[in-house]
Amino acid sequence: MADSRSISLKVNGVAYQKDVEVRVTLADFLRHELRLTGTHIGCEHGVCGACTVLVDGRSMRSCLMLAVQANGHEVTTIEGVAPSPTELHPLQQALRECHGLQCGFCTPGMVTTLMEFLKDCPNPTEEEVRIAICGNLCRCTGYQGIVDAVLAVTGGKRA
């Protein structure tokens, strides 16, 4: 039987202590153990970006990270982004208004990636936005609505 460890971490501000098998990825831990299914798995090899979460504010591929590596860290998932059950984060609101999502499967990873990016780069150019999300694959939108949403939030303009 696989080895287990006890880990303590905060997810979306809630503290957890859990026994977890050492081989379980952070993505599977969030989805199956905590039932936070908003973090999606698209490739499990770190390319598609759908599983992106914030670990201590930095974007991480939760499919490439083990749950035990999150021990002692703070994780933010898509469920922790909106300020309340009745309000959306401005980025979420803009994605809605700009049709930045269709099937919505890549959306959680897009949002978490952009949360980090906008903290580092609050007034990006269109090109900077495109580079920021070029590690997140979307098959539905052609990315235009996502780029538009970011620029709507930051007051930037399309090139």
Partner: protein
């Protein structure tokens, strides 16, 4: 109400933005187990003994199932899914699990059910199989040569089907033609690569014997039908439910071996079973599009007017029939749709290969037909020293000839009649927006600085709204809420919003009072599902008709309740009001309660029970959307890199229901088309072994490859449905590859480049440049 035509907020967005979507892998049932599949590592092999002992010995493993374990549950071991055609040369239905021969890498041979996926995969690796590799067919052209090995060892040959599409006296046209040009093309399209892979969860209720299957399908009713057929169940015993689907793009309309295995697995272990496809499985076990080889000749007069086209195409079918001959049919049919073509003959041969079955991906063969036609028109322009746009203008079906009867029939045997549109005007709009007329000057200036610019154009006409019908029920219950149930399936294209919008237009305009259930066989008896840019046309029309019927019922009942004449009533929000009279109103809940029935009391005179209508409006003829793509590119002759500087897309999908959604559908399709032109390539070696197994190898377009895109909308409402809608889901993808490839060829004109393939890679471009330099 004026919801139709407005970009109203999507119903789908809020939960998806909060991470509260319910995709297949988000479903959890008490006691649920997870499955993993043992798959063939060989493209073709005989399967000998399968030893389960080591896998079964692993703690947490509940079952290891092979074909023999399934047989007791299967009335029919094979999935009979092929679309009807008289042109099949052999039946190639897929088995649930194969008996003694595997015919492609990734074919499932056994299923492990365990406490979780980790253990299931450990156990799958412990299942021992005796494989005896056989000679394989790695290429569809080679498949048809006389000495080719057989892709199925007991098949007589590798020809799946053969047919010829055409009309007119082709050879006479060629005999009289001023010019004849011959071309060979290779075209490749890859997988759908929805970001969500496939998945299925099955629950078998031991009390009543009923099976519920949640699956990420585009066609829930078709899935129900196949399950009933294979398991010998009636429709009451099998319910198929579609949760949120994370993109479809074609392959999710297919029913798969894993789906029935999971259902049987749940019956065998007596617990819910989930299987979620991983990305590697998606590469080898989800259907895809692949190769077509074309040899074509075109005959033209001295002015570049088309006289006839003839030729042959060989189409890679893969190892089984998972859908039919429709894809190559569409490709061949497409040649004759959009331009005036007096005579046409295309022989299509569909070849077996030892690769996963080929079925439609967004566009469904139409992009390939458009590619061939547009490349031929470029050739004609070059040979006759005509402008590429002018050659097209001379041959496009003009607006004054609408409706225009083409010479071809669609795969259902119905004549292809172009119903409406102004194709030359769309083209002209695209030319104006891309700056076509002054491009030669810009190109010449750029070349002086060592910058290679090119421009290209391509037109398309796409049959949308394939019938015969889609079912929609509209109901207002005593709660006052409007329920919409449909056989249409949502996979990200805003189907719920579209239907709520159409229904609310008739019933008060409050979309927040509408619940749409799409893709649950438990709610509607019949349904077709999502394919062929059909749902707005078919489900939209049924929703409109049903909503009008319910509206009439609501008004009638309310006229009794309000003691007012029907013509004096209107619906506002969730109430019926007397026009111009404040406070004279009755809400939906009261209206619905009045006809919900109370035992022993009669209904108001002349009123039927319930506020409900079910419609399956039959529309057989397809409605044809059209458009023009124009692309300007810059080619780096050192690296072979292509940058799309600007892309203009002018299109006509009839009356636009929701501009934002239409734009979104087009942009997504365009991105896919750019991938097909420059990036996406599902590579195999000559033994049928995939060389492309990750998204690092298979290049999907990312945000940095997407150019500035200018969309322009023309609206020619179709007379074929009451709302004037044409489909849009696939339109974006269709003309992109030929427009981009034409632009690249134009940029490389100083090197004499000729491009007869898609996709093209930087390596191909550098090779064209250096070939000339030598």
């Amino acid at each position: 109400m004026k919801l139709i035509g407005a970009s109203v907020a999507r119903l789908e967005d809020e939960p998806l933005l909060r991470g509260k979507g319910r995709f297949i892998d988000d479903l959890h049932m008490p006691g649920m187990l997870e499955a993993a599949f043992v798959r063939s590592p060989y493209a073709h092999a005989v399967v000998g003994a399968i030893r389960k002992e080591a896998a079964l010995a692993l703690r947490g493993v509940h079952a290891v199932l092979v074909r023999d374990d399934l047989l007791a549950y299967l009335r029919n071991e094979h999935m009979v899914v092929g679309l009807p055609s008289k042109d099949y040369k052999q039946d190639l239905n897929r088995p649930a699990l194969p008996s003694d021969e595997v015919v492609h890498v990734g074919q499932p041979i056994a299923m492990v059910i365990a406490d979780n996926r980790y253990i299931a995969e450990d156990a799958a690796a412990l299942v021992e199989v005796d494989w005896a590799p056989l000679p394989e067919v790695g290429d569809c052209k080679a498949a048809l040569s006389a000495d080719a090995p057989k892709a199925h060892r007991h098949s007589p040959h590798n020809l799946v089907g053969e047919f010829t599409i055409g009309y007119g006296d082709v050879d006479a046209q060629f005999a009289a033609a001023k010019h004849i040009f011959k071309e060979r093309y290779w075209q490749h399209r890859g997988g759908s690569h929805s970001i969500e892979c496939r998945g299925t969860v099955a629950v078998h209720d031991g009390n009543d014997g009923r099976l519920t299957v949640w699956t990420s399908t585009q066609m829930p009713h078709a899935a129900q039908r196949v399950l009933c057929d294979m398991l010998g169940f009636d429709e009451n015993a099998v319910r198929v439910v579609t949760p949120d689907v994370g993109g479809g793009f074609g392959p999710k309309l297919v029913f798969y071996p894993e789906d029935v295995c999971v259902a049987i697995g749940a019956m065998i272990v007596g617990r819910p079973v989930k299987w979620i496809e991983d990305r590697l499985e998606h590469f080898v076990a989800t259907t895809q599009e692949r190769d077509q080889y074309w040899e074509v000749e075109v005959a033209v007069d001295g002015d570049g007017r088309l006289l006839a086209i003839r030729g042959e195409v060989i189409h890679d079918h893969g190892a089984y029939t998972a859908r039919g001959l429709n894809l190559p049919y569409n490709s061949a049919e497409q040649i004759a749709v959009g331009y005036e073509l007096p005579a046409y003959r295309m022989k299509v041969r569909v070849a077996l290969t030892n690769k996963i079955a080929v079925t439609p991906v967004r566009g469904a063969g139409h992009p390939q037909g458009v590619f061939v036609m547009e490349r031929l028109l470029d050739r004609i322009a070059r040979e006759l020293s005509l402008d590429r746009a002018e050659v097209r203008r001379r041959n496009l079906v003009p607006a004054h000839k609408m409706p225009y009867q083409t010479g071809v029939k669609n795969r259902g045997g119905m004549a292809v009649v172009l119903d409406s549109g102004d194709y030359p005007r769309c083209q002209q709009d695209a030319l104006d927006r891309i700056g076509w007329s002054d491009f030669p000057r810009r190109q010449a200036d750029a070349r002086k600085t060592g910058c290679y610019l090119g421009i290209g154009i391509a037109n398309f006409v796409k049959g949308t709204g394939r019938g015969p019908f889609e079912t929609v029920t509209v109901r207002i219950g005593p709660s006052g809420r409007i329920l919409v149930h449909t056989g249409a399936a949502a996979m990200g294209q805003s189907t719920r919003t579209m239907l709520a919008q159409i229904v609310a237009e008739q019933l008060g305009g409050d979309m927040s009072n509408v619940t749409v259930v799409a893709g649950d066989t438990g709610t509607v008896a019949t349904g077709m599902g999502g394919s062929n840019s059909r749902q707005a046309v078919l489900a939209g029309t049924s929703a409109h008709t049903a909503a009008v019927n319910v509206r009439n019922k609501v008004i009638k009942v309310a006229s009794h309740l309000l003691e007012a004449a029907e013509q004096d009533l209107d619906i506002e929000g969730r109430s019926v009001v007397v026009k111009g009279v404040k406070d004279m109103r009755v809400d939906f809940a009261k209206v619905a309660s009045a006809v919900a029935g109370t035992a022993g009391y009669s209904l108001p005179a002349g009123v039927e029970p319930g506020l409900e209508a079910t419609e399956s409006v039959v529309i057989d003829p397809m409605t044809y959307a059209n458009g023009t793509a124009a692309a300007e590119v810059e080619v780096d002759i050192e690296t072979g890199g292509v940058r799309i500087v600007k892309l203009v897309f002018v299109h006509d999908c009839g009356r636009i229901l929701h501009p934002m959604i239409v734009n979104g559908q087009l942009l997504g399709g365009i991105a896919h088309g750019i991938g097909n032109a420059l990036f996406e390539w599902m590579r195999y070696d000559e033994h049928g072994q995939p060389l492309t197994g990750t998204l690092a190898d298979y290049l999907l377009v990312t945000a940095t490859e997407m150019p500035a895109i200018e969309l322009s909308h023309h609206e020619s409402p179709t007379p074929l449905n009451p709302l004037g809608i044409k489909g849009v889901g696939e339109c974006g993808v269709i003309p992109i590859a030929p427009a981009v490839i034409s632009a690249v060829e134009d940029a490389l004109a100083p090197f004499g480049a000729r491009i007869a393939r898609t996709p093209i890679t930087p390596g191909d471009i550098v090779a064209m440049v250096t070939a000339r330099a030598k």
